[in-house]
């Protein structure tokens, strides 16, 4: 497939300022976005793909999507190649449009080097001691001061989920129990001991209602994957794992109206990925589900459609996620809860164990028989503040 003639540049806007002492960098991004969208005759709600580079303040594309209230973004790209980034983005936007994934891509750039706002600071950085104004992540003054960490912001989601749906700590604990049953067979697993529901709920409280054993491990490590064209795949002497569908989406407060912390972006990525693959959750033989915390798994399973909203607790209980025992074997490497969470980013290990399962190369004690269709789902950032999700559905060919 080529992009030739498949995409159009329909809006363009050059911000008139050359010296902006009175505006933040985030504001210049938003004003530029508004200018280009008005030029095209489109609105912010028409945008389903957002591209920015290192000049955008905050957390990848997430802070600007939240700041601008880009409610319908289902494709993000923060490729950084310096000043050429925006042409790289244009190319990537054309590719996404050509393959039919998105219809309206927004690319923004802005900065204030004449006013001390060169490159944005890292989110959560301390305020300057001398009281100077900062020009970093727009949410900075209203979030990091409150001591939010992954533990307590995911804890907030679990607390609300319990309140709305009656989910219990014992039900959450079953997720860890299942992971530990798998990890016992993984010689590299950071935690190899099988644990019980009682051990999880009696482990010390970290951030209500999440106990120590509701949390993933902290490990060093790494991982990599190689993706090829069909022609290259055919030339290689390895089992063929074919990608059938994929989708991505961010979710964040976007102004604070109708906050809902019991639903994650999987509610958007799941249906899109399943539709593209032409399969349903019931067809999945195996699932790698991002497991930073037990609540992450429970919410993701509900939102992907493995069970009804609010029934995740019942779904994960009684070993239903244990390979050879339950209906949906998950994270058979032990997952982030027991095996590995390299540099606090568990996305790549989710792909890797899915590939092992589809190849039939998982540990024999956890290998799912005839595993020909599987799913990997990643959750990044914080479910409790702003996060980005992606779902990928893969099958074994032949």
């Amino acid at each position: 497939m080529s992009i030739r003639g498949k995409a159009y540049v329909m809006g363009a806007f050059e911000h008139p300022t050359r010296d902006a002492p009175d505006r933040t960098t985030a504001q210049l991004h938003a004003e530029s976005a508004r200018g280009a969208l008005e030029d095209a005759g489109l609105s912010f709600d028409d945008v389903d793909a957002y591209f920015c580079a290192g000049d955008a303040p905050g957390f990848g594309a997430m802070s600007m999507i939240d700041y601008m209230g880009l409610r319908n973004v289902r494709h993000m790209d923060t490729t950084e190649t310096g000043g050429s980034s925006y042409l790289v983005h244009l190319n990537h936007a054309c590719q996404a449009i050509a393959e039919g994934k998105v219809d309206v891509a927004l690319i923004t750039l802005a900065g204030r080097p004449r006013n001390g706002g060169g490159r944005p600071g890292i989110p959560g950085a301390a305020a300057p001691r001398d009281g100077r104004l900062v020009d970093g992540a727009p949410e900075q003054g209203f979030e990091s001061v409150y001591g939010g960490s992954t533990h307590n912001t995911y804890g907030m989601c679990a607390m609300r989920h319990m309140y709305e749906y009656g989910t219990t700590s014992e039900q959450l604990a079953w997720i860890k129990v299942a992971a530990s049953h798998h990890a016992q067979w993984n010689e590299h697993a950071f935690l190899k001991d099988v644990v019980t529901v009682e051990q999880v709920v009696n482990s010390r409280m970290i951030a209500d209602p999440l106990h120590l054993l509701d949390c993933c491990v902290v490990t060093d490590g790494g991982g990599a994957v190689v993706v090829t064209s069909p022609a290259v795949a055919r030339s290689l002497n390895r089992p063929k794992v074919r990608v059938l569908g994929a989708a991505e989406a961010p979710k964040m407060p976007m102004g604070g109206r109708d906050l809902d912390l019991t639903t994650c972006a999987a509610v958007w990525t799941g249906p899109k990925a399943f539709a593209e693959a032409g399969v349903t959750p019931a067809d999945m033989k195996y699932a790698s589900i991002y497991d930073s915390f037990t609540i992450t798994v429970l919410m993701t399973l509900e939102d992907l459609g493995f069970c009804k909203k609010g029934e995740g607790g019942k779904f994960v209980a009684d070993g239903n996620l244990i390979s050879g025992v339950g209906k949906l074997p998950f994270n058979t490497d032990g997952g982030g809860l027991c095996n590995n969470h390299p540099t606090n980013r568990g996305g790549i290990t989710k792909i890797i164990e899915t590939v092992r399962q589809l190849r039939g190369e998982a540990h024999p004690k956890v290998q799912v028989p005839n595993c020909d269709l599987a799913l990997a789902h990643g959750t990044g950032g914080s479910l409790g503040v702003r996060h980005g999700s992606a779902t990928v559905i893969m099958e074994r060919e032949g």
Binding site: G141, H151, G255, L259
Partner: protein, 132 residues
């Protein structure tokens, strides 16, 4: 556990867009942004409305009253347990905050709370919430 929670709070990062908020906070006034084009309030405060994208946003004084949407008490903390959570203001918008003047077991979703300002380490005060 009946100890009242407190937590030292670092100075907030103040930007051009948010300086009026922190200036008001220093005077003990809690303000939010509202868009005069679409009428919607939003949080955190922005120059441009995240709902209709107009720049006709204005500061408005708020009573700072609302209900706890959710919370979590963080026990792994060198300065003692502290509670983070969201308050849904009576204006209908959710605010991330800390809860103070309350014991860790004294919080509940739905509990009515009101804003107060807590001094920070070398910066303007920030809004926190306490049970009414």
């Amino acid at each position: 556990m009946s100890e009242i929670m407190t937590r030292p709070i670092p100075a907030p990062a103040v930007s051009l867009e948010t300086k009026p908020f922190f200036d008001a906070a220093a005077e003990g006034r809690f303000t939010i942004k509202r868009c005069t084009a679409c009428g919607e309030a939003h949080w955190y405060p922005r120059a441009i409305c995240p709902y209709c994208h107009s720049d006709r946003t204005v500061w408005e004084e708020s009573a700072g009253t609302g209900a706890i949407y959710t919370y979590s008490v963080m026990w792994r903390s060198p300065s003692g347990p502290y509670a983070i959570g969201y308050v849904t203001l009576d204006e209908g918008i959710a605010v991330l905050t800390n809860f103070v003047d309350v014991a860790p077991d004294g919080l509940a979703i739905g509990m009515r709370v009101k804003v107060k300002f807590q001094p920070t380490e070398g910066g303007p005060p920030v809004p926190v919430f306490a049970p009414v």
